[in-house]
């Protein structure tokens, strides 16, 4: 018995010693980078950012998830760069001029631009970036109106457009347009080059192996402005709760995606948890292809009744903790100068009207259908709230949460009845084109495309008159409401957490691009 006690004591001592030797490593951005330091005064040493998955590629022409292009954004050269308020600002160019008809745009690079290794940034590199993007086929709608891009000398880029293109700057500010040295990529091959690319952006790569947990970026001494962050350590924490705990512990300084209950879990004096509205809309999309097995969903009046009965406010409150805003239109609201409500009753649920509408169809007694939904945090809960609403008019929605890969496969195979998803884009025109123009991402997915809507959107995309654009987009919205193949639900959002003041370094949406404060700031930013 005596020996047993000794063994227990030894084990306990071992645990205590082991525990004493350990301790969390705290992130330390420096004394001038606290929650209380105003962004204007901040000068941050090392900031640690947690993302949800490993970065696999820094090649802008690879597509890939946000965990690829988010870290890539600050270390790539860009003609235009998104500022903190989602306005594209001139980055590597000093001037831009357009021909009288707006179809030829000439840009001149800033003088003496250099990559992080000291080699010059050339106009041909920008053209090469565009060529690679176009060849990749990724988000082709963004570059559909660009007929040609040419380098004139070392510092001029001449773009030729098929029609005036108000969203041109947004396209150039996207992650796909990352500028890297043409000659080096051609010599090394893209796969090899992008393992350790040079940078024409505010930060440059210091340490990283594709598919691993840590990436270290440092301030690029050759960038034309001085970044407010000297070092950015990007670490991977796959679990949402662990991300929140690491933020509370002080092991990290910034998280872009937190669990939705995070707001109530943190000490507001140490961590700033805030929601960010994104230019996107949660929605229901009905399969319009011939293979749609559900007769009821083929009936426009049924779909209208379904849209009428949905309590968007309840979904935003219950499933999204009041962070989301109920939708009254298809297009996103934040930063959208053309926004106008288009849903009947401004999107507020009207059960009586829904019942009356459904009564006019052969499905007045109700029907059942399958609603597939990505198994992401709170998405399935949101779908369940909608299912409860639909039950009020006798419609049974069987909610089926699925992994993302399965959802994508079923959508592409047109093997679904109705899907809960979202539609996000850089601009409202691009977002509506996703839904209504043939070739748009969601029109391909759902099989719904309206040539009339496309004509209106093209007209809007070629106009420079804001009032006209707003009117045209509203017409498209009303066509969408009438058909009801898509049912907008709430705004898209994310919940972020910071241990320093806002405005120094954070992700800006819709691309979740990492914005880095610089001195001087982006022109006009």
């Amino acid at each position: 018995m005596k020996d047993n006690k000794a063994v227990f004591r030894l084990a306990a001592l071992g645990l205590v010693v082991a525990a004493g030797l350990t301790g969390p490593a705290k992130a330390d951005p420096g004394p001038n980078c606290t929650l209380a330091t105003p962004a204007a005064m901040a000068n941050c040493g090392t900031i640690t950012l947690a993302i949800a998955a490993r970065t696999n590629s820094l090649d802008p022409a690879n597509g890939g998830p946000n965990t690829d292009y988010q870290p890539a954004y600050p270390q790539q050269g860009l003609i235009y760069r998104q500022d903190r308020n989602l306005v594209p600002r001139m980055d590597l160019i000093a001037t831009e001029s357009a021909s009288a008809n707006g179809l030829v745009i000439t840009q001149t690079l800033k003088k003496n631009l250099k990559y992080s290794d000291g080699s010059p940034v050339l106009a041909e590199d920008a053209v090469f970036a565009y060529t690679r993007w176009k060849a990749s086929g990724i988000s082709s709608a963004y570059v559909a109106k660009i007929i040609d891009a040419k380098a004139v000398g070392d510092d001029q880029i001449v773009w030729t457009l098929s029609t005036p293109y108000p969203d041109f700057k947004y396209a150039l500010a996207s992650q796909f347009m990352g500028i890297h040295p043409k000659k080096r990529i051609e010599a090394m091959g893209a796969a090899e080059y992008f393992k350790k690319p040079v940078s024409a952006g505010p930060l440059m790569l210091s340490e990283w192996t594709p598919g691993t947990d840590l990436m270290v970026l440092k301030a690029n001494p050759n960038y034309w402005a001085k970044p407010a962050v000297q070092e950015l350590r990007i670490t991977v924490i796959p679990d949402g709760t662990s991300r929140l705990l690491a933020l509370k512990q002080g092991a990290i300084d910034y998280v872009y995606t937190l669990p939705l209950n995070a707001k109530t879990q943190v000490d507001a004096g140490k961590v700033n948890v805030f929601p960010q509205s994104e230019p996107g809309t949660f929605m229901l999309a009905v399969n319009n292809y011939a293979g749609q097995p559900n007769e009821a969903l083929k009936d426009k009046r049924v779909r209208q009744a379904m849209s009428l009965v949905l309590d968007r406010q309840k979904m935003a409150t219950i499933a999204f903790f009041g962070i989301a805003e109920p939708a009254c239109a298809f297009a996103f609201k934040p930063g959208n100068p053309y926004f106008a409500c288009s849903l009947p009753n401004n999107g507020v649920a009207d059960v009586a009207a829904a019942k009356a509408q459904l009564a006019q169809t052969p499905f007045a007694k109700g029907f059942a259908f399958e609603m597939i939904v990505p198994a992401r945090p709170q998405w399935a809960e949101a779908a369940q709230v909608l299912a409860a609403d639909l039950a009020k008019i006798g419609i049974t929605a069987n909610v089926k949460p699925l992994p993302d890969a399965d959802i994508s496969t079923r959508i592409r195979a047109r093997n679904y009845e109705l899907v809960f998803f979202r539609n996000a884009a850089a601009t409202p025109i691009l977002q509506l084109q996703n839904w209504f123009s043939p070739g748009g991402a969601w029109s391909v997915n759902s099989g719904f495309a309206d040539p009339a809507a496309e004509a209106l959107l093209n007209e809007a995309a070629s106009s420079s008159d804001p009032a006209k654009i707003k009117a045209l987009l509203h017409k498209v919205e009303l066509m969408g409401v009438e058909d009801a193949s898509y049912m907008p639900l709430t705004s898209q959002f994310s919940l972020s957490g910071l241990r320093y003041a806002r405005g120094i370094m954070e992700a800006v949406t819709p691309g979740e691009w990492l914005f880095i404060k610089t001195t001087p700031a982006l022109p006009g930013g």
Binding site: S242, D406, S408, A441
Partner: protein, 337 residues
Amino acid sequence: MPGGRRMEAATTPDEASPRSGAPIRLFLHQAWRRLLRAAGVATWVMVIAFCLIRLAPGDPVLARLGPEADPVAIDKLRRDLRLDVDPFTQFAEYGWGLLHGSLGTSIETQRAVIDIILESLPVTLWIIAVTILLAIAMSVPIALYVAQTRRSAVPYLFRASTSVLLAIPAFFTALIGLIVFGLHYEIAPIIGYQPGFPANLRFLWLPALVICTHLVPVLSRVLHSSIVETMGEEFVETGIIRGIGRPRFYWLYLLKPSLAPTVVLLSYMVGVMIGSTVIIETIFSLPGIGRSLVGAVISRDYPLVQGCVLVFGLFVVGVGVVGDILANWLDPRVGLS
């Protein structure tokens, strides 16, 4: 088992070991057959891994580009990844690569799968090693104490507490562990794993402790039963009468004759543990092979999934073989077949 370990009263368990008279050649022959069988199992694991990931719904191209991707981009990537060829050709190419020592290239990272595995496997092996050490360090004294105690409440308390621990899911224990040791006491890091001994122990002790909350109850229960059984043997009484020193008595008379079932169980549990590490590595952000597998499954990175599953299979089979050999060494009556 009762009566199965009866030995001459005058002998120690080692002196009575049948190994002393058994031909080594038979042992080697059995071990060789066991290894051959393991190789067969590994082959099947490879085939099943290849088929399963392709039968599962989902598409690596769509997983990477998303449902909003352009059809042109989808077709291009499919061609680039050689996913446009039929599955038989894909399998032939995979098998040919294996024969040449290549597990292929990861679709997501464009890195050799073998490099990713060699990078992440040691982390998982360290978790398992620390867990086993910790589990043994806890299970043996607990089992000995409970088996020897005369307090009637202790065995009941032991059974109840082990049942409770087994009923709590590992992910929940892990989160509680992070909150208590990471946030409250600040003695456990939540992120920032550093490879290399002994720096890695700072990051491994808590995950290992969490896994132990499932492993220790099972091991200590089995070991406790075996010890209780062994204590009924005549040679134990002889040992006591002979006045054998306590360490020697505990090892030779109580533990060694009782360990074989526990070792076999442990080798099986290690197989289960490698599954548990998937959850543990995710919650503790440890860059082990479980995390690589989860990421690969989500992105339908076929070559990486195949590689990880193959390694998992080989590991489980290998540990099983080692477990059998160890059990046979501890108690030669435990056959290798």
